[in-house]
């Protein structure tokens, strides 16, 4: 397309930033790694919850105050929220094609960061307060 008579913009200027962002492989790989880590962590998480069913508040708090359950919970929550951020990101990129896509991506990121920090803070507070 010859635009030279209508605009001063070069062909490169028109297409720059419209191609691949060049971090797709990293995202795909992170999805696999978090999936792999979540398999044993999910078993640990379910096991932990089952072990808490017979306990009252003080019992739950005492159990979660030990290092191993706290570390399993922290890993499950942080790796899980990283994983769900990537998953929701691919859903947004698949289905939203207008300007609201950027806002959806920002909302997804903010939601996941707040949730991850809230969960991590709670687990640490159970252990240290």
């Amino acid at each position: 397309m010859d635009n030279s008579q209508r605009t001063m913009r070069t062909s490169l200027g028109r297409v720059r930033l419209l191609g691949a962002a060049r971090f797709g492989v990293g995202e795909a790989w992170a999805m696999r790694l978090t999936s792999l880590a979540l398999l044993p962590l999910t078993i640990g998480f379910v096991w932990l919850l089952l072990s808490l069913l017979s306990k009252d508040y003080n019992g739950v708090r005492e159990a979660l105050g030990h290092p191993a359950p706290a570390i399993i919970l922290l890993l499950f929550v942080l790796v899980g929220i990283h994983h769900m951020h990537s998953g929701m990101r691919s859903i947004i990129l698949d289905y939203i094609h207008d300007r609201s896509k950027e806002w959806a991506l920002v909302a997804n990121l903010f939601f996941c960061v707040v949730l991850a920090l809230a969960c991590a803070y709670a687990v640490l507070r159970i252990g240290f307060v």
């Binding site: 635009n3 605009t7 999910t42 929550v77 769900m84 998953g87 859903i91 969960c119 709670a122």
Partner: protein, 136 residues
């Protein structure tokens, strides 16, 4: 799609590849949807986990509130759905690993994997709930 800033106004919409509506619903397709739907369910359900963790970190009154909700009929239904979504999605993830390794993509195997994901998700959920009711 990103709007390309062209000087000419005569940009026609580009042809699209055939989308979901033109295909017959198959088992593998249904499990692909189910993987996404359970993923979104777990995304929202994580709010419940955050509420529970924050309540435990606070005091007995906050814990009693979340425990009351989780023990109600609606709470149990949500927990049942969350646990099913967790197991279904985990098995779906294992299925994706098998595919990533280059196995199970051909005709009978991929149907078996889809059925195993569906049945396995329910079986795991029921087994874990049975254990839960026994140990509580």
């Amino acid at each position: 799609m990103a709007t390309v800033d062209t000087a000419s106004k005569s940009v026609r919409s580009r042809p699209l590849s055939p989308h979901l509506g033109v295909y017959k619903l198959t088992m593998t397709m249904a499990m692909s949807f189910a993987h996404r739907v359970t993923g979104v369910g777990l995304y929202i359900g994580t709010l419940l986990l955050a509420w529970w963790l924050i309540a435990v970190s606070m005091d007995a009154a906050a814990f009693a509130a979340v425990a009351w909700f989780l023990k109600s009929i609606i709470g149990r239904l949500i927990l049942f759905g969350f646990s099913w979504a967790l197991f279904h999605h985990a098995l779906g993830g294992i299925r994706h690993f098998i595919w990533d390794a280059g196995h199970g993509l051909d005709d009978p195997q991929r149907e078996w994997l889809a059925q195993a994901t569906l049945v396995g998700g329910f079986v795991l959920t029921i087994v874990v709930w049975a254990i839960g009711y026994m140990v509580r």
